[in-house]
């Protein structure tokens, strides 16, 4: 049965972040400035420890194969959690570099810092809380990736979002920030209500909150006359509600205003963290039906995907505010990533592509926001095309970072954005969604217009007199590092791609996820790799043919990605 220790065993990374968050709050209450300033280093240490704990807790990917427990709704969760935790730690450290200087700009913190003589008022400083919320939100993402239960999943999703509402409100001394936070909070609450309703219907339809049990009931229903409408409705509502986290179409309204109103570093945080949590949650929800994503769900995802891409890109084209442009770009990229989920039915390549893409998108968008955050116009953030004009003449380094970021967002070949798009598009084409891929390709072209507009403003525009470059070394390092990693992953993306496909394919046992429910071996269609390799003779003929032309630029990389994931998908398709 479930012992407490067993439950806790896989959660050391989360515990480390949680302790880090508590230490940050404690440090933030100190009367001396130097101790308060320790909050950011403490957060960095906590992230590093979480990374080490994840690596230590992860079994070597290829050593253990437990056939019978294979890839169920939860079987995929163990390696998935590892991948997500590592990604969160890596990108989290970059985000921390970008955000480290934020509290120095908050007026109340400045006042307290600069008045060492006067009585210390802990209620005025927020440095400690800022980094605590930062870590707690990342804890939420990690917990989402390890969720085995609907209650757990719901709470983890909320833990991801709640701190971000406060970060939006407090990290910038502007009325817009408060307005953004209020909008974000209320719409977030609405979305939470929607997916919570979905979760209750899932519980009602299956009698359990355990994802594994729900998966088995769904499998049973599929084998005996189809899914119950209640379960289907639950899935649909959950997907629509979680769409808020990824800023996809029915729930995308907040993105532009919130991204614009929040402090730029927080905006970068919003672009990666809730999106990752949302996509992982969607993968878990879609895992309920395993290989047989029901047709209505596919229709819903199809429509969401097409609308999200199109609205994101077309609206992005109409903006003059760069932060709003990047907000719509965030919406559009969620659309591309939904492509991988549409292509998911019986096909793990789509999921792997999504997991890979979300990291690549995160890196590029963090770099872009970091550059934007280094600029200041009339004492406020620079947000317009006019403000970034001529950046290349003033600071070639920042301009180059921004250029790399937008090129990656466009999907230019040597960068990670290109690889990500290749995987997403090939996984969708393999699945026969040619029409969607055509829409996605047209949208990429539309998107390229506004990305190139950013780049051309930066390189060919006339410098704006009111704008100046702020000297924030940590932010600059964070942005540059993100851009360089985006470039490096584009050139040698093999390991990450492999990790992403292992995250959804390799059936590795993991202490956290042995919830006591043992799946009957016969039920599992997508067991371990050797099983599925046998009925797969048709796959190799089609798969390489699809990959080869698209991936000429980086020939060696697609192989590890498609090879492990392809057999699993095709076998269940046949």
């Amino acid at each position: 049965m479930n012992l407490m220790t067993e439950k806790i065993a896989g959660l050391w990374p989360e515990i480390s972040l949680l302790l880090g968050a508590c230490s940050c709050i404690a440090a933030g209450l100190a009367g001396t400035v130097s101790v308060r300033r320790l909050a950011a280093p403490i957060a960095a240490v906590a992230l590093a420890v979480a990374g080490v704990a994840t690596l230590a807790g992860a079994s070597p990917p290829t050593s253990i194969h437990i056939g019978a427990h294979g890839s169920s709704a939860n079987g995929i969760a163990a390696p998935l959690a590892c991948y997500v935790k590592i990604a969160v730690v890596g990108v989290g450290l970059l985000l921390l570099l970008v955000a480290a200087a934020v509290p120095n700009r908050i007026r109340s913190d400045q006042q307290v810092d600069n008045a060492p003589g006067s009585a210390f008022d802990a209620g005025l400083v927020m440095r400690g809380e800022f980094f605590a919320f930062f870590l707690l939100s990342l804890t939420g993402v990690m917990l989402v990736s390890g969720a085995t239960d609907l209650v757990w999943l719901f709470l983890a999703l909320e833990l991801t979002s709640l701190p971000t509402y406060v970060m939006v409100a407090t990290a910038r001394d502007r009325v817009e920030a408060n307005e953004a936070a209020v909008k974000y909070f209320f719409l977030g609450a609405l979305a939470a209500a929607v997916f919570l309703y979905g979760f209750t219907l899932l519980y009602g339809a299956t009698g359990s909150t355990d994802l594994n049990v729900i998966h088995n009931v769904a499998k049973h229903q599929l084998a005996h006359g189809g899914l119950s409408p209640l379960l289907l409705t639950g899935m649909l509502l959950s997907i629509v509600g979680i769409a808020f986290k990824i800023a996809a179409v029915p729930m995308h309204f907040y993105a532009a205003d919130v991204y614009q109103g929040a402090s730029t570093a927080v905006t970068a945080f919003l672009a990666f963290v809730p999106k990752t949590a949302g996509f992982v949650a969607l993968i878990l929800i879609l895992g309920i039906t395993g290989d047989h994503t029901p047709q209505p769900v596919i229709w819903l995802l199809w429509a969401m995907e097409a609308l999200t891409m199109t609205i994101g890109n077309v609206m992005g084209l109409l903006q003059t505010n760069v932060k709003r442009v990047l907000a719509y770009s965030s919406i559009a990229h969620s659309g591309y990533m939904l492509l991988g989920l549409v292509a998911l039915g019986g096909h793990r390549a789509g999921e792997a592509a999504v997991l890979f893409y979300v990291v690549g998108y995160g890196l590029a968008t963090i770099a872009a926001f970091a550059v934007l955050g280094c600029l200041e116009t009339n004492g406020d953030e620079s947000q317009d095309y006019a403000h970034i004009a001529g950046l290349a003449k003033r600071n070639p380094g920042l301009a180059a970072t921004l250029l790399l970021a937008v090129l990656s967002l466009i999907g230019m070949p040597p960068l990670v954005g290109f690889l990500g798009k290749v995987y997403l598009f090939t996984s969708a084409i393999d699945h026969g969604y040619v029409c969607l891929v055509v829409i996605a390709a047209i949208n990429s072209a539309i998107g390229a217009v506004y990305y190139l507009r950013i780049a051309s403003a930066c390189y060919f525009g006339k410098p704006d007199e009111a704008t100046r470059v702020i000297d924030w070394p940590s932010r600059r390092v964070g942005g540059t590092a993100a851009a360089v990693i985006a470039l490096a992953l584009g050139i040698v993306g093999g390991p990450l791609v492999e990790a992403a496909s292992l995250a959804v394919d390799a059936p590795i046992g993991h202490p956290t996820h042995s919830t006591g429910i043992v799946l009957p071996p016969a039920d599992d269609e997508r067991g371990e790799m050797p099983d599925t390799a046998t009925p797969q003779p048709a796959a190799p003929t089609t798969a390489p043919a699809d990959d080869a032309p698209a991936a000429t630029e980086t020939a060696p990389q697609p192989a590890p990605e498609t090879a492990p994931s392809e057999p699993a998908g095709k076998s269940s398709d046949m």
Partner: protein, 182 residues
């Protein structure tokens, strides 16, 4: 209300039960409607009280006494008072009218109706699943013990997670409500 519900719970097979269920269901749904249609925030809070109490009564009828008590104590008792206090302390005029435009009403009605239709269709077409059809756990005092055991074993992580979530909310609330600087 509590006394009434306890009487119901103690006679689970009474012929009154379907009737009472419909009474409480109508109370719940009716006051939920009233919340949405009302324009005065204090009235909304009062209607919310009857909605929450109606749900609590239905929990009693399902023999989930502990849940019903929690529902009354935490929601009807705690949360509702917090809402009223929050309104009184933060808004300059607690009797402010919240006016919605006809377009907003139409849009809201459309969305609500489509969700309701979808839920009804799904509910009416679904077989009652085995798991949910037998919620009648043995009545008596061991409800609380079972819930406690479940919270600290199967649901340990969600339980702790809820605690962390409350910590976040508390720190956030304290921070948001902090004294405004000069």
């Amino acid at each position: 209300m509590i006394v009434l519900a306890q009487q119901v719970a103690s006679h689970p097979l009474s012929p009154m039960q379907p009737l009472l269920f419909y009474v409480f269901a109508a109370l719940t749904v009716g006051s939920a409607w009233a919340i949405v249609l009302s324009q005065n925030i204090i009235r909304m809070a009062v209607y919310l009280l009857t909605t929450l109490a109606g749900v609590a009564a239905i929990y009693f009828m399902l023999n989930a006494e502990f849940l019903a008590a929690i529902q009354l104590i935490v929601y009807a008792g705690g949360t509702l008072i917090l809402i009223v206090f929050g309104v009184m302390l933060t808004s300059k005029n607690p009797f402010m009218q919240l006016v919605t435009s006809p377009l907003e009403r139409a849009l809201g009605l459309f969305i609500a109706a489509s969700v309701a239709v979808m839920a009804m269709v799904a509910l009416l077409n679904s077989p009652v699943p085995g798991g949910a059809a037998a919620p009648a756990a043995p009545a008596g005092h061991d409800h609380v013990a079972r819930i406690g055991r479940a919270l600290l074993s199967d649901y340990l992580v969600p339980f702790e997670l809820a605690a962390v979530l409350l910590l976040v909310v508390m720190v956030a609330a304290a921070y948001m409500a902090r004294r405004t600087q000069r």
